[in-house]
């Protein structure tokens, strides 16, 4: 049925967006910095998957799922480099300099992708396989189900890590109050590096998940960045659960409006929605800005 298929598509898209938004929130919480390169990092993850796929022997038909740990590891390493180059030298400076440095990294990523792969969209291999699966009398896309499953596992893994492990507590402590964390003996520099690595790994996973069903092109970064941002604003700035919820809402909206009108209309309405949120719902914003002590 059409609506079931649409819903599934929307959830799949939302699951991938959620991973991107989570990475955004992780960096935000750990460093207070807004990562303008988040969208481009997702795109880079997608292209990494495309590149690695050429190494997989085609005839055997191995699932793209095998690429997931490779992509996440590669992007985690990139995350460490990113932190070292764009964040660490600017820690003592006003926050706008970090915005600019992350913009710069995003530019480098987008144009490197353009130079290596060209401007046309590319596709990565499907996670488990293409085609459809019969479920409850409906024919549902196998890829969509796989995306939702993988994303759900990763999100659950992240929640477990942050909520129930000592490392997770250290990461959260660093995010809440770096000075205090340092005073307690937590190695703040290492935690920040890990936060970046984790965020980039999630972004890379999002890229891999998106790259088959929704394609990846070098210019995707800007729109993805905006969607991650909208998701985080909807869900409550800095809240992990909220970011996931916001991402799902955006994706469902996008898929729904695109089916009813067209994709550009969906995007346009999304931007209008973003402006409306920024203007009318200060709660999400005030909660983040620390009160200046007069």
């Amino acid at each position: 049925m059409l609506t079931a298929q649409l819903l599934l598509n929307g959830l799949a898209l939302g699951a991938a967006y959620a991973l991107a938004a989570l990475g955004f929130v992780l960096v935000l919480n750990a460093t207070g910095a807004v990562n303008f390169a988040q969208g481009d990092t997702v795109m880079a993850g997608g292209f990494l998957a495309v590149a690695l796929a050429t190494l997989l022997p085609q005839e055997v038909g191995l699932p793209g799922l095998l690429l997931l740990p490779l992509v996440m590891a590669g992007m985690a390493a990139f995350g460490l480099v990113f932190a070292w180059v764009a964040y660490v030298p600017l820690r003592e400076r006003p926050p706008v300099t970090v915005f600019i440095s992350t913009i710069a990294v995003g530019i480098i990523l987008a144009n490197a992708a353009n130079a290596i792969f060209g401007a046309a969209p590319h596709a990565a291999p499907p996670l488990v396989g293409g085609g459809q699966v019969a479920l409850a009398g409906l024919a549902l896309s196998r890829q969509s189900i796989s995306i939702i499953a993988v994303a759900a596992l990763l999100i659950a893994g992240l929640a477990l890590l942050l909520g129930y492990t000592q490392l997770g507590r250290k990461l959260r402590a660093t995010a809440q109050d770096p000075e205090m964390a340092r005073a307690l003996g937590i190695r703040v520099g290492v935690m920040i590096g890990l936060s970046f690595a984790l965020a980039m790994a999630l972004a890379g996973a999002a890229g891999l998940l998106l790259a088959n069903q929704f394609f990846v092109s070098a210019s995707d970064g800007g729109a993805l960045m905006l969607k991650a941002y909208i998701a985080v604003v909807i869900g409550g700035w800095g809240r992990i659960g909220g970011a996931v919820l916001g991402a799902l809402l955006i994706a469902l909206f996008e898929v729904g409006v695109a089916a009813w009108a067209s994709y550009p209309v969906a995007e346009g309405l999304l931007y209008v929605g973003l402006m409306a949120i920024l203007l009318l719902r200060p709660q999400g914003l005030l909660g983040e800005a620390a009160r200046r002590r007069a």
């Binding site: 180059v85 926050p95 600019i100 905006l226 995007e267 002590r293």
Partner: protein, 594 residues
Amino acid sequence: MQAWLARGPGPVLALAAAALAAYGLFVASPYGLRLLTIAGVYALMVLGYQFIFGHAGALSLAQGAFFGLGAYVTGILGSRYGWSFPATFPLSLLAPAALAAVIAAPVLRLETHYFALATLAVSQGVLLLAVNWESVTGGANGLPGVPGVELFGLALGRGWPLAAFVWGWVALAGLAAWAAMRGLYGQGFLLMREAPLAAGTLGLDVGRMRVSMLVLSALYAGGAGALYVHTLGVISPEAASFPIMVACLTMAVVGGSARVAGAILGALLLVHLPEWMRGLERTYLIAYGAALLAAIVFVPDGLIGAAERLWRRAWPPTGPAVPTAMGAPQRAGPNAAGPALAVRGLEKAYGGVRALAGIDIDLARGEVLGVIGPNGSGKTTFANLVAGLDRPDRGRVALGGRDVTGLAPHRIARLGMARSFQTPQLVPAMTVLDAVAVARAEAEGAGLLQALAAPGADPALARARGRAMAVIERVGLQAQALTPCGDLPHGDRRRVDVARALAAQPTVLILDEPAAGLARGGAERLARLLRDLADEGLGVIVIDHVMGFVLPLADRAICLDAGRIIAEGSPDAVARHEAVVEAYLGAPGEAAAP
């Protein structure tokens, strides 16, 4: 020679400009001229960008959208309807400015990165329109056949006439940009960027300043877009695309975000960069990204900023002479009868915390009122509410008989309220003289049009400095008038803060913990100054913990606890009051902590 060099890099810049003109006229090939023209277009765009990014300190990502909008206005009207330059150029200026004016109010309220992302959304929206509204914009392919510049029947050929035309606009725009920001109005922006709370309480209409900067930046970008389309002869969505925004940002950061020379240098450098590195070709944007990253990490002031610093180190400037103190015209007094400040039923809660639970306070002219109370009793909240930094939930505040409840801080400041802060909010790079002078910006009528209309040195700045000197002498800092605030010890910073608050001749002065961190000598001097000011008619409220400072100074005292007044009367009586002692030290019967 030394003195000539110490006067600043002006002569060097003039030489550079002459060299550029010579290159364009005699040396450059047709391709080189085209590059020069494009560089001029970008220089114009970056000059505009410096208003919002450099002076207002807001990371706008909509400059490319304004550029694209200006480009499309000229492109569509020129290509489809054959309109000529004198008709299309003004419209290309107005359309982006109008867009900026419309989005300014909501968008400029946002904090830094929210503002950046809102402007990014606007620019994505413009691009979306450009690509999809095919009937008007020609869609992804755009529109060809945009006519060249034709003025009064004279067609400007491609090559050096067009290049000269574009650079003529750059010179005009650069001059205007320099003139607008060179004086007292420009100083206000420095304060706004680094001490935004203080700026409001000193009478600067921060919101309007930001809007002006955004609209100006859009105006310049629109003009640049129009010239771009005339140079290319076609209009396509490329003019509204993100790479142009990227180039603009990179040029501003690399060149230097607050200097006209920086915009020009950045544009020239980064337009020619791909040419010098022939092998880069399609990957020139990667080089831009790398240049941006390197610039922001290593030379955040830009190349011009770094050059300026080196120049100043080699040839230190002689600096302005200390101006003679000037008297200022007296502020029109409030009705002399009635209290200088009257507060009724003021209440404020933050979430679940009741900071103020309903207080009534009267302050007579010439009276010093001491406000004491343990931490968290609501003293600073009271100061914030009265000065307009926050809105009370309930209650009224009247200044000189006039209701000022809920007004913006700059408006309350202009009506005669002044306040100092617990931590003096000074700009480290500003001299004491300028820090106090900028407090007179509103009183001297500093503004954008005023700055543009004044020839030579800004008279408002000179007047403000003269009057500031009088106040500086009053607080005893005349020896440090030309010292940067960042080099001052804490006690002197406190005095600068007070001087600044006095510069606009307030009728009520609120001091939030002025004695904190002062040595005894400094505290005594401050107390004497406040006593003298009160004797001249100023109403003074001193909020402090240091009893030895507040109680001898005050005529009357009030003690706050948990948002309520628990004692009121003569300072000695209040200090000995049972409830006050209990609030500070706890009740006699309470057991000591184990």
